[in-house]
């Protein structure tokens, strides 16, 4: 069975717009003019999982989350 797919999510209450994530992972994270992230829709491609984890680790507010895609809600 394939490894569960992952996606990026932002805890918007924690996020303070440092923009570190967008600088580290521009492939998936754009920044708005206030340096708050705009996450590309969909799952994180396998080849970017390592970069995504580093971006999560480097967020000064611990506001970026890499999580398993939850099963669809009924």
């Amino acid at each position: 069975m394939a490894r569960a797919e992952k996606r990026l999510r932002v805890d918007w209450i924690k996020c303070d717009g440092y923009g570190t994530c967008g600088d580290m992972l521009p492939e998936l994270i754009d920044l708005d003019e206030w340096r708050y992230p705009i996450i590309a829709p969909g799952t994180v491609p396998g080849g970017l999982i390592g970069d995504a984890l580093r971006a999560v680790d480097c967020c000064p507010m611990k506001a970026l989350i890499l999580e398993k895609v939850p099963p669809p809600r009924s």
């Binding site: 932002v10 805890d11 918007w12 209450i13 996020c15 708005d32 708050y36």
Partner: protein
């Protein structure tokens, strides 16, 4: 000709003077609380009734209760949400002030149906008559509702009624939304699974428990069955709270409210999370959530807000955006900065000081901000702005190009910006 026969259900009974119906009068009129439903019978009845939540989102009530009843284990809490922070809306406070026992019936039945241990009435602190009526009603019901009940006053504020904000306020006094997950249905009041349900939805459930799903479905002219409370505002002869059969055309609702005072150009439907439409295009629009959705419009919390023909279609949404930006809980950057920037650009355009760049920025920001917050406050506010730009788009451009408003015929920018 107005046919209003099946429309008086929630507001049936004595005239709405603001004096609460007593428990004795309520019982004499509607009979005792319906017999206890075992094994989710009431939930099945609610599901087949088609009752939709009346807080604004319109989620099916039966399905929500079913999910709560199916939780694995443990205690649970019912929150009857009467915060009603939507400025033009008066329907929840009117219901609570006049028919408090219908709301309590619904909360008690919800607690029974999902096996909850506690009932919390969460009511806007500025709704003085509603708070007083619900307090008195709670005292009258200590004997027959055997679960602990308490009333928590919701602080004034638009977002205070959002479900996670309600739970946060009840737990800590801080009525700001929380990050989800975890959902309120899993970790809510006191850490227990919590069902947050609008007071009108609870009152409707109490009637369905008495009279059945077929009875409920006998009202309604189109897909969505039943009746709903709405608030009619603006230059209308008899503005205020009314109960309508769902699917009643907008024009019929306005006529039933005595018609307009002067000409009306546009209407905002659903509230400050709602949508604008030109009245002449929507006179025959059925106020039915499904039909409205198909037209890109919203039933929301049942606001019908008329805009007089001499009012500016840029100023009105710009003022609402300013309010919504100030009402941000201030926790999430895209809401704080995004709504703030949108409101400021709209204000400049309304005052004749807008530039082409303001219009370009508005289009970019309304696409960029939604979905990027702990709650849906920015999403709802932006829905209203997008709809205003769609409905009054030419007027936005005219303001920028000429520094005038074609609706009020005013020359703008004289010290206003």
């Amino acid at each position: 000709m107005i046919t209003s026969a099946p429309a008086s259900r929630l507001l049936a009974g004595p005239p709405l003077t603001g004096e609460a119906e007593s428990f004795d009068a309520h019982r004499a009129r509607l009979g005792p609380m319906p017999p206890t439903y075992g094994n989710g019978d009431l939930i099945t009845t609610l599901e087949s009734s088609g009752l939709l939540g009346r807080g604004g989102a319109g989620f099916p009530v039966g399905r929500k209760w079913r999910a709560m009843a199916g939780r694995a284990t443990g205690r649970a809490v019912i929150v009857a949400n009467g915060a009603e922070g939507e400025p033009p809306s008066f329907k929840d406070r009117t219901l609570m002030a006049n028919r408090p026992h219908l709301v309590l019936d619904g909360a008690a039945l919800a607690a029974e149906a999902v096996d909850a241990d506690e009932i919390v009435l969460y009511i806007g602190e500025e709704h003085l008559e509603a708070v007083a009526a619900m307090r008195r009603a709670m005292r009258e019901r200590r004997a027959d509702i055997r679960r602990p009940m308490r009333l928590v006053e919701a602080p004034i504020g638009y977002v205070a009624g959002e479900a996670s904000a309600a739970v946060h306020a009840i737990n800590t006094g801080d009525a700001r939304p929380m990050t989800t997950p975890p959902r309120m249905s899993q970790v809510g009041v006191g850490g227990h699974p919590t069902l947050v349900q609008n007071v009108e939805s609870l009152a409707a459930a109490a009637l369905i428990a008495r009279f059945g799903d077929d009875w409920y479905r006998s009202a309604g002219r189109l897909a969505t069955r039943g009746t709903a409370l709405i608030t009619v505002t603006g230059p209308i002869r008899e503005p205020g709270v009314r109960e309508i059969e769902l699917g009643t055309p907008l024009g019929e609702v306005i006529e039933a409210a005595g018609g307009t005072r002067g000409d009306i150009s546009a209407v905002v439907l659903g509230g400050y999370f709602g949508t604008w439409t030109h009245l002449d295009e929507s006179w025959d629009l059925p106020l039915d959530p499904d039909s409205m959705h198909a037209e890109g419009l919203t039933f929301g919390c049942g606001i019908v807000g008329a805009l007089g023909a001499g009012s500016c279609g840029v100023s009105a949404p710009a003022e609402i955006m300013g309010f919504m930006a100030r009402e941000s809980a201030g926790q999430c950057g895209p809401c704080v900065y995004g709504l703030g920037a949108i409101a400021e650009a709209a204000r400049r355009i309304a005052h004749g000081a807008g530039k082409d760049a303001d219009i370009d920025n508005l289009h970019r920001w309304v696409a960029q901000v939604p979905g990027r917050g702990a709650c849906h406050h920015p999403d709802g506010a932006i829905q209203l702005m997008v709809s205003a730009m769609h409905t009054f788009g030419d007027e936005f451009a005219y303001h920028v190009r000429t520094g005038r408003c074609s609706m009020t015929r005013a020359r703008l920018g004289d010290g206003q910006s």
